[in-house]
Symmetry: C2
Subunit: 225 residues, 2 copies
DNA sequence: CTACAGAAAAGTGTCAACACTATATGGAAT
DNA sequence: ATTCCATATAGTGTTGACACTTTTCTGTAG
């Protein structure tokens, strides 16, 4: 009666964990046979898990070539935050229009309870849920979520998290309660744009990225999609 | 030396074609063994292709349950267009800021050449390319592209395509040439929002969706994620 | 006739072996 | 020493068989 976890799910989580801890370095190769042995499964489930991770953008791979973990640099994060800026903006706009008074009240109370830090990301997830748009919710909470987690885990977790984020969240929630969708969207976009700017400064200051890639010497045919 | 097509790619395209033509009806079941026989391959490649299609949102599936083709209704399309509205807006904003004068000039000329209709979607793709944000480009041109194509193919292709889209495209391109990023974004968002409104009218008028699902009777345990 | 339980059938998940491709190795020619 | 080619090795792609779960079928009790 449990949601029936298959081996692919286990291996998927396992590989993601290995990425988080750095057991698989960013940009490092991902060997099917090794992983199969590691998890005591056949190569089949590993292949499917790798393909799923590929779909989430965490692993890159071309036919007959070894798979590599994604090499997250600051530029990539900036692009992700640019995408988040507009989507989170639309998310809060729709949520402001669609959420019930009760739901909004609940959200405010829960946020008050949780305290300033701790579960900052939860606010964004709750808003995405309230948007009523499942595709936006999936994009923010599933697809981009893994990339953000991975980056924060491997980059010292400082980047992206900021001091006055909590105050900005309060501003957004107030705009939502006032049912001012346009304002809420503007505030949210500014909220995320500020994080993007922090990344931009990081990029200007430090040319060498977070990656711990053991850059292999390029082989003849490797310049392929 | 070719980009090395694997059987998974072939089957992926084949299944997508079957969805476009309606050989697999929307919401219909997708049987691994049948498809394997159809394409003269083993079930392995089929499984991986199905998983890839699942990643693109074209097929839904839970462990040990039969896979089903997505059942695209108007509500789903509205949600996709809401997402597109904000992302295409950001896309054109970034493109206006980042594209070179030469690239922009080229884009204008190509659009003039192509005539009013024909390759309307190409403009959006070119702009996404010019945004310099690979994640936005991938979202618009890869992930959402398949869903749009499928919907247009199976819904009589009328919805989403509008008469004065070409004029609106010209407006956007003019704003880009004037390097007015804010205006370009506003125009693009309005451009797509108009399509969303058309869908909204469709939803109000016609409660019965496009789907040709042969709704199977619910089984005991099927209420699962 | 309907509802339920158990057995049969169909379908999905997993595995281990084999086929194909890319990478690494070693030697010959320059 | 360096470059090139042939060969060996490692790794990925594919397959068919088997294990597990779901779905359907069938008979029985109410």
């Amino acid at each position: 009666m449990d949601p029936q976890r298959t081996l692919v799910d286990t291996v998927f989580d396992g590989i993601f964990e290995m990425l988080l801890t750095g057991e698989i370095p960013l940009g490092g190769v991902v060997n099917e046979a090794t992983l199969a042995e590691r998890f005591n499964v056949s190569r089949g489930p590993v292949r499917e898990a790798v393909k799923a991770l590929q779909g989430r953008g965490l692993i890159t791979k071309a036919a007959y070539f070894k798979a590599r973990a994604v090499d997250l640099n600051v530029q990539d994060m900036i692009e992700i935050f640019q995408l988040r800026e507009c989507v989170e903006g639309m998310s809060v706009k729709l949520a402001t229009q669609n959420m019930s008074d009760e739901g909004l009240q609940q959200l405010l109370e829960d946020f008050e309870q949780a305290g300033s830090d701790g579960r900052v990301l939860d606010v964004h997830a709750r808003i995405a849920e309230g948007s009523g748009n499942r595709r936006i919710q999936s994009l923010l909470c599933d697809e981009l979520y893994y990339l953000l987690r991975l980056y924060r885990a491997r980059s010292g977790s400082a980047a992206g998290r900021r001091e006055n984020a909590s105050a900005e969240h309060w501003q957004i929630l107030r705009a939502m309660r006032a049912r001012d969708a346009e304002l809420a969207e503007s505030l949210m976009r500014a909220h995320i744009a500020r994080a993007t700017e922090a990344l931009q400064r990081l990029l200007d200051a430090e040319p060498a990225p977070v990656s711990d890639t053991a850059q292999p010497r390029r082989n003849r045919k490797e310049q392929r999609a």
